[in-house]
Amino acid sequence: MKLLADLSVGSRARVHSILGADELSVRLLEMGLTPGVEVAVVGTAPLGDPLELELRGYRLSVRRTEAARVQIEPL
C-alpha cells in the first residue's frame, strides 16, 4: 500500500490506516489523521523535509519518516 511520504506536492489522498501503536502513531491519530480522512500535501520545507499537509481544514507539519507511518489511497 502507498504511504503518505510517497505523495508528491499538490496531490490528495484518503488515509487508510496508521502503522504502529507507539507515541508517534497516537499523535498522528490525535491530530486527525484517522482512517477515511482526506489529506493533501501542500508543500515541503526548503530543505525537503518536513511536509506541510492540509486536513480537516487546517495545516499540519510532519516529517517524511513520520508520514511513512500513514498508509493512504491516492485520490
Binding site: 490506516s17 496508521i18 501503536a21 507507539d22 507515541e23 508517534l24 502513531s25 497516537v26 499523535r27 498522528l28 491519530l29 490525535e30 491530530m31 486527525g32 484517522t34 482512517p35 480522512v37 508543500g43 520545507a45 526548503p46 530543505l47 525537503g48 523535509d49 518536513p50 506541510e52 480537516r56 481544514g57 487546517y58 495545516r59 499540519l60 507539519s61 510532519v62 516529517r63 513520520e66
Partner: protein
C-alpha cells in the same frame, strides 16, 4: 519559592486549550496582569494562577499548558489531567473548566473538548478567533454548537477583549449548574471493558489509600489506562512496586486490549476514531463551508514564506533584521543605563566617606547589578521580537523551515529560535525553550544555549583581538585576520553546541526522537497589547527572579575582592607618598602649570593602592592559589583572578583586569581610549617570577576560547534553574562548560606555543 495555593472559599476555573488558540491572551483578559507564576513540584510545568471576581464571587483561574490531547505519557503531561480531576492538593478541586477553541480549526480543537467533557466537570467553551474563521468563509452556528455540545458556548476575540463580559456571565451561570456527563463517544465494547476494569480496580484502590484516597479511580483515568500502551500510566497510577495484584492488572489490560482488537476497536486507534466520529456528529449543521475553498491572505503569505527560494531568503532577512535591531536599537538604552549607573556610583561614592560600606554600595551593589542591568534593553528587545514571531504564527514556520538542519544534531526545528536568540543573550533563549514540549529536547536546548556567543562576550573579544591579533589581510584584502578570529570564536560556540547536543541526546537525555507532528497556525497580525504584555511579563519575571541572586553573587564577589582590607600593610608602603602628593595639590593654585602632572601622579598612586588592596584580598589570594592550575593555559594569577571575579557576568573580566593593572575602577571597555590604555598595560604585563611578558597571541587566544565556552553568567544559571525547576541542571551546565572552557583554553595555548611564531 512558596507555591501558590487556593483557599476553598473561592471557586476555581481551569483554562485549557490547544496551542495557538490564544489561551494566554484569554487568561490575561480574564485575570489581568496580576498573575502568580510558579512551578508544580517535580516537573518543568509552569503553574500560572490569576484571580477575578464573578459577580461578587471570588474566583481563581488556573492556566494549564496548551495541549492537543489529554492523554498523559509523562509526568509533565500528567499535571493537566491531575489538576482537572482535582487530584492536586496544591490547586484543589476544579469547579468549572473553561475550554478555549479556535473557531477556524474547530474540528481538531473539539477533539480535546470531547476529552474534557468526559471529566464530568461543568464546562464552558470559549470560541476564539471567529474573525479568522469568517475570513475563511466559515459560518458557525454558535447556538446550535452549544445545543449539540450541551454546554454554553461563548464567542470571544480575546486579543480585542471582545466577548469577555459575556464569557464571565456564562461562568457565573455555570457555577450553579450541574454537569451532565455526556454520552461516551466510545463503542459499547470499549465502554464495557472500562466498566469491568474499573470494578476490578476498585478493591485495589481501597487498599492503596495513598493514590486515590480510597475512592474508586475516576472513569476517565481507567479509560486512559486501557488506552495508554506506553506503560507510563500503569506505573504512575498503580505504582512501581510489584504487589500481588500487579500482574493481574497487567494481564487484565492485555486481555482487554486483545478482546478490543478482535472486536474491531484496536487500542489506541479506537480513541481517535471514536472522538473524531463524535466531532463530526456535533458539527453537523454547525459549520457552513464555502463550496470552493477560499484562498485566504494567510494561504498566499504561506505560499511565499515556505517557498524554497523566497521562504529561505525572507527567513534569513527576518532573522538579520531581528538581530541588527536588537543590537542597534538597544544600544542607546544600554549606553544610557550604563551612564546612569556610573553617575549613581559616583554620586554615592562622593556622598559617603571612604570605607567598606561605600565600597559595598558602589562596587558591589551598583556595579554588580548594573553589569547585568545593562543587558536589560537587549533582553527586552528580544522578548519583543519573540512575542511578535509567536503571535503572528511565524514561530511554528521557523521551526518547520529549520527542522531538517536541527535533526542532524539530534534536536528539532523548535530549538532553532531559542538557540538563535542566545547569540544576543542566553536568557531569552533559555526562556524561549518553553515552546519545546518534549522534556529531553527542551533540556538539551537549554544546556547548549549558553554556548552561543552572546553579546556579553563581545567586549572580551574586541579588546583582546584589538590588542593582540595582528592587522593582516588575506586573499587580496578580502579576509582580515582580526575578523576571521572573531568569526572563528562564534563558530567554536556553534560547533561545540552541536557536539554537546549530540552527546547529550546519546547519553544523559537519550530517548526516541519526539514527533514533529504539529499545527502550522494561520498567519495573523500580531496584537500590540499581547506583544507588549508578553515582553513586559518575561522581562519582569527575569528581573525579579535573577535580581536577588545576582545581587547576592555581586556582594560575595565584592567581599572577596575587598577583604581583608589590610590598611596598615598597604598604607605603610604607598600611603606616605600619596599623602605628600595630596598635600602638594592642596597648596597649589587651581591654575598652576604643574597641577595637571601632579593630578595624574596622584591618580596613578590611587590606582596602585587599589591594585595593592586587590592583591592581598581573598580574590587576589585565590588567584595566586589557582595559578598552578591556570599556568598551563598561559595565565598568570592576575588573569585567574579576573576570571574568578567575572563569575557574575563575563564582561566584568575586562574591568577586573583594569583594576589589577592599576587603571582604576571606572574603565569603560566600550571606549577606544580606555581599550588602548588596557591594551598597553596588558602588553607590558610580566610574570612575577621570570619577568617574561605574560601576554602573547596564544595567551590572548586561550583567554578568548575560555570565555567563548565558559558559563560565567550568574543570570543564565538562575534562569536555567527557574526553567528546569531544579538546581541540578544549572550546576551541570556550569561544570560541563567550565571543564570544556578549561580544556579548550589549554589546547589553544599548548598548540599555539608549539606552532612557529606568526
Amino acid at each position: 519559592m512558596k507555591s501558590p495555593t487556593i483557599a476553598r472559599s473561592t471557586i476555581t476555573v481551569a483554562l485549557i486549550g490547544n496551542p495557538n488558540t490564544g489561551k494566554s491572551t484569554l487568561f490575561t483578559a480574564l485575570a489581568g496582569v496580576r498573575q502568580r507564576v510558579g512551578n508544580y513540584p517535580g516537573v518543568t510545568v509552569e503553574k500560572k494562577l490569576g484571580s477575578l471576581h464573578l459577580s461578587g464571587q471570588a474566583c481563581q483561574v488556573v492556566d494549564l499548558p496548551g495541549t492537543y490531547s489529554l492523554a498523559p505519557r509523562s509526568p509533565d503531561e500528567m499535571v493537566a489531567v491531575d489538576v482537572l480531576l482535582g487530584r492536586r492538593a496544591d490547586v484543589g478541586p476544579i469547579d468549572i473548566v473553561l475550554s478555549i477553541v479556535d473557531a477556524s480549526n474547530l474540528e481538531r480543537n473539539l477533539y480535546l473538548v470531547s476529552q474534557v467533557l468526559e471529566l464530568g466537570v461543568p464546562t464552558v467553551v470559549a470560541l476564539n478567533m471567529v474573525d479568522i474563521a469568517r475570513a475563511r468563509g466559515l459560518a458557525i452556528d454558535v447556538e446550535r454548537l452549544s445545543t449539540q455540545l450541551n454546554v454554553p458556548v461563548v464567542e470571544v476575540q480575546a486579543n480585542r477583549h471582545r466577548g469577555i463580559a459575556e464569557l464571565k456571565a456564562a461562568l457565573v451561570a455555570a457555577i450553579s449548574s450541574n454537569s451532565a456527563v455526556p454520552e461516551s463517544p466510545f463503542p459499547t465494547e470499549f465502554q464495557r471493558e472500562v466498566t469491568h476494569l474499573q470494578s476490578a480496580l476498585a478493591p485495589r484502590m481501597r487498599d492503596e489509600e495513598s493514590t486515590c484516597g480510597g475512592e474508586a479511580m475516576p472513569r476517565y483515568l481507567v479509560e486512559r489506562l486501557l488506552l495508554d500502551t506506553s506503560g507510563y500510566l500503569q506505573s504512575e497510577l498503580l505504582g512501581n512496586h510489584h504487589s500481588p495484584g500487579e500482574a493481574d492488572v497487567a494481564a487484565e489490560l492485555k486481555a482487554a486490549r486483545g478482546r478490543l482488537a478482535a472486536a474491531g476497536s484496536p487500542v489506541p486507534a479506537v480513541e481517535a476514531q471514536a472522538r473524531y466520529a463524535w466531532v463530526a456528529q456535533v458539527l453537523k449543521g454547525v459549520i457552513a463551508r464555502p463550496a470552493e475553498r477560499v484562498t485566504t491572505r494567510s494561504d498566499r503569505i504561506d505560499r511565499i514564506l515556505t517557498n524554497k527560494f523566497w521562504g529561505t531568503l525572507l527567513f534569513v532577512l527576518a532573522m538579520l533584521l531581528v538581530f541588527s535591531s536588537v543590537f542597534v536599537a538597544a544600544e542607546p538604552a544600554m549606553k544610557a543605563i550604563d551612564a546612569v549607573i556610573g553617575k549613581l556610583g559616583q554620586a554615592v561614592g562622593a556622598a559617603m566617606s571612604e570605607g567598606p560600606l561605600e565600597s559595598l554600595l558602589v562596587d558591589g551593589v551598583i556595579g554588580g547589578v548594573g553589569s547585568v542591568l545593562v543587558f536589560l534593553p537587549q533582553i527586552l528587545m528580544l522578548f519583543f521580537f519573540l512575542a511578535i514571531l509567536e503571535d503572528c504564527g511565524y514561530m511554528a514556520r521557523a521551526a518547520y523551515l529549520m527542522d531538517k538542519l536541527m535533526v542532524r544534531v539530534g534536536l528539532s526545528g523548535k530549538s532553532f529560535i531559542p538557540l538563535l536568540s542566545s547569540f544576543a543573550c542566553a536568557i531569552p533563549g533559555v526562556m524561549a525553550t518553553r515552546v519545546i514540549e518534549n522534556r529531553r529536547d527542551r533540556l538539551t536546548t537549554i544546556l547548549v544555549a549558553p554556548l552561543m556567543s552572546c553579546s556579553a562576550r563581545l567586549p572580551v573579544y574586541t579588546v583582546l583581538i584589538g590588542a593582540f591579533i595582528p592587522r593582516r589581510t588575506f586573499a587580496g584584502g578580502l579576509l582580515q585576520l582580526q575578523g576571521v578570529t572573531l568569526f572563528t570564536l562564534y563558530l567554536l560556540g556553534i560547533v561545540t553546541a552541536a557536539l554537546v547536543a549530540l552527546v547529550l541526546k546519546k547519553t544523559l537525555l537519550r530517548g526516541p526522537t519526539p514527533p514533529f507532528v504539529m499545527e502550522l497556525p494561520s498567519y495573523k497580525w500580531p496584537s500590540p497589547s499581547t506583544v507588549l504584555y508578553r515582553m513586559g511579563e518575561r522581562g519582569w519575571s527575569f528581573v525579579r527572579r535573577a535580581g536577588t541572586l545576582i545581587l547576592a553573587v555581586s556582594v560575595i564577589v565584592w567581599a572577596a575582592s575587598y577583604y581583608p582590607h589590610n590598611a596598615e600593610v598597604v598604607e605603610e608602603n604607598l600611603g606616605p607618598e600619596r599623602d605628600a602628593l595630596t598635600a602638594r595639590l592642596v597648596q597649589l593654585d587651581t591654575g598652576a602649570a604643574e597641577r595637571a602632572g601632579l593630578e595624574d601622579q596622584k591618580a596613578d598612586m590611587d590606582h596602585a593602592i587599589a591594585a595593592a588592596y586587590q592583591r592581598q584580598s581573598i580574590l587576589g589570594r585565590m588567584g595566586r592559589t589557582i595559578e598552578p592550575a591556570v599556568r598551563p593555559l598561559g595565565w598568570d594569577w592576575r588573569i585567574g583572578c579576573a576570571v574568578i571575579a567575572s563569575f557574575p557576568a563575563r564582561e566584568v573580566v575586562m574591568g577586573a583586569l583594569g583594576v589589577i593593572y592599576n587603571l582604576g575602577k571606572g574603565l569603560d571597555v566600550g571606549d577606544q581610549t580606555d581599550q588602548d590604555r588596557l591594551a598597553a598595560r596588558m602588553h607590558a604585563a610580566r610574570w612575577d617570577d621570570s619577568q617574561a611578558l605574560v601576554y602573547n597571541i596564544p595567551v590572548a587566544l586561550s583567554i578568548m576560547v575560555f570565555f567563548a565556552l565558559c558559563a560565567q553568567c550568574a543570570s543564565t544559571l538562575v534562569v536555567i534553574r527557574r526553567e528546569t525547576n531544579s538546581w541540578r541542571w544549572p550546576a551541570f551546565t556550569f561544570i560541563y562548560m567550565t571543564a570544556l572552557a578549561y580544556l579548550g583554553a589549554l589546547v589553544t595555548y599548548q598548540v599555539g606555543m608549539r606552532l612557529p611564531p606568526f
